[in-house]
């Protein structure tokens, strides 16, 4: 028994020290290894999803990290993450940077560092056509979303009487909506339009015109990884200036007629 306890303690200690060692200079490390490991979504068009023809992960998020890696002179290695797994994966060193539709908020910023906002949206709902006119119509209803997302926390605040059902990811939430198991699916508008676009029966659904929160997205990096944060910030500001950022926006959102209502600027 005593031996077992010691063994556990040694194991725990090694994991902890291994972690501490990782909070170093990711920029230099990536340059040395020639590869930047990126945590991204793989089923969330148009941010990160698998292209049907090439079988590669593509999207808005991917184009941003590709541009950053190009500037660094390294290759990109994409690792699919979920909303719930991405922060632990970053902290444990499985990935170097999160580019996975991640909303910047104060609680998260205590644990990791964010880049400047590279995308800006607001949280809305998908519902069956004509069933919901305003937020009031959703009181006491069942609402689907994905685990570990800010959407889940926002909707609980905005609709305390509603039952929030958290699925593993958005495709399941949409399936539940189709089958009437939930009356609405909620998350950021930019994600909703992507989900809606992939839905088999698009004409049955709509996104009513009201929102419950602002959602600025940032690229997530380990706390104190200042060199990488500065490099990323500098790069995306340059991308804004050169018009590349706007071009990426149009490439992915042009077909949805979404207006680019933001510019990438330095956070105050």
């Amino acid at each position: 028994m005593k031996k077992l306890v010691t063994l556990f303690m040694v194991m725990a200690l090694t994991t902890i020290t291994a972690k501490a060692a990782l909070a170093g200079d990711t920029l230099a490390e990536a340059k040395k290894k020639g590869v930047l490991v990126v945590g991204c979504k793989d089923s969330l068009p148009p941010f990160g999803y698998i292209d049907e023809k090439t079988r590669q992960i593509v999207g808005y998020d991917i184009d941003f990290v590709n541009a950053i890696a190009k500037k660094m002179g390294v290759k990109v290695e994409l690792k699919p993450v979920t909303s719930a797994s991405r922060m632990p994966q970053l902290q444990e060193g499985h990935i170097d940077i999160i580019a996975a539709t991640m909303t910047k908020n104060a609680e998260r910023a205590k644990v990791i560092d964010f880049s400047h906002t590279y995308f800006f949206t607001g949280q809305k709902f998908i519902t069956k056509k004509g069933s919901v006119k305003s937020l009031k119509d959703l009181e006491g209803k069942r609402i689907g979303t994905a685990k570990g997302s800010t959407s889940e926390q926002n909707v609980k605040k905005a609709l305390p009487t509603a039952t929030v059902l958290s699925f593993d990811d958005y495709p399941q939430a949409l399936l539940a909506l189709e089958q009437g198991k939930v009356q609405a699916v909620t998350t950021d508008e930019s994600i909703l339009i992507g989900i809606l676009d992939k839905a088999p029966d698009k004409s049955k659904f709509e996104i009513p015109n009201f929102q419950i929160s602002d959602e600025p997205y940032g690229l997530g990096m380990r706390k104190g990884d200042t060199n990488l944060v500065n490099f990323v910030n500098k790069t995306i500001l340059e991308m804004e200036k050169s018009g590349e950022a706007a071009k990426i926006f149009d490439k992915w959102f042009g077909k949805y007629h979404l207006h680019r209502s933001f510019k990438i600027t330095a956070d105050k």
């Binding site: 902890i16 972690k19 501490a20 909070a23 909303s83 719930a84 922060m87 632990p88 902290q91 609680e107 998260r108 205590k110 644990v111 069942r142 689907g144 685990k147 570990g148 997302s149 889940e152 926390q153 039952t163 059902l165 958290s166 699925f167 593993d168 399941q172 399936l175 539940a176 089958q179 009437g180 198991k181």
Partner: protein
């Protein structure tokens, strides 16, 4: 240098504690319901598997192979999402209004586990010398009555250790119910993690709870074994 600071206070009181407790109760409810029904259903399937009628035997065999050899997660999705296509609209509407998550998870767990339990019981029955069945039949008992009064009481006793395993599996497998939004222990632990980023604390609590649950199940069955069936532990 430690990069992670433990903070147990967040899970020992307040809102997050309440979440974990409600998760515990859902896990207990889900496990209890599934264990009871899986046992009864498993008993039925085991008897069918050994029946004389060929179609009945084949049905039981098909049931066993199908539900033992497909992943539980797939089965949970099947009952939750797949049943929609089969059931009439009236029933679907009613299910959707009342919330079908818990029931779908319980059905999936029950059926999945019953297949394993049936095989455990069958192996117990097969270990009883077949002369006993022959003697019972020649004494005038029907097949079902011989099973009920002579074979099963002995077989169940032999089956108890593997049954305990199945019960423990139910308790742990119930965590998969979170994929369809059942707010059980693991779901709540993950919820606490995503709100507080205190994953270590939340999942440690969940681990302790599952461990305690397993130990309680094992002790209860052992107690039953000793006190009711008078089986004494092997030296």
């Amino acid at each position: 240098m430690l990069t992670y600071r433990f903070d147990w206070s967040i899970i020992t009181s307040g809102q997050y504690f309440d979440w974990l407790v409600s998760g515990l109760f859902t896990t207990l409810k889900l496990s209890a319901v599934s264990i009871v029904f899986a046992f009864l259903l498993g008993l039925l399937i085991a008897v069918m598997r050994m029946a004389h009628s060929k179609p009945v035997r084949w049905f039981a065999l098909a049931y066993l192979e199908f539900f033992r050899n497909t992943p539980l997660l797939v089965q949970i999705f099947f009952w939750y999402f797949g049943s929609y296509k089969i059931l009439p609209t009236v029933i679907n509407d009613w299910l959707n209004k009342t919330g079908f998550e818990f029931a779908a998870a319980a059905i999936a767990l029950t059926i999945y586990t019953s297949a394993f339990i049936a095989e455990d019981i069958r192996s117990g029955v097969l270990s009883i010398p077949k002369e006993q069945m022959e003697a019972a039949r020649s004494a005038g008992f029907s097949y079902l009555r011989s099973m009920q009064y002579i074979i099963l009481p002995q077989a169940i006793r032999i089956t108890i250790p593997p049954l305990v395993n199945q019960f423990l599996n139910v308790a742990k497998n119930s965590s998969l119910a979170m994929t369809i939004g059942v707010m059980e222990m693991t779901y709540q632990a993950r919820q606490v993690e995503s709100y507080t980023f205190k994953g270590f604390e939340a999942f440690t609590a969940a681990t302790v709870v599952y461990l305690a649950l397993s130990i309680v199940i094992t002790s209860l069955v052992n107690l039953y074994n000793e006190k009711v069936l008078n089986v004494h532990k092997a030296a």
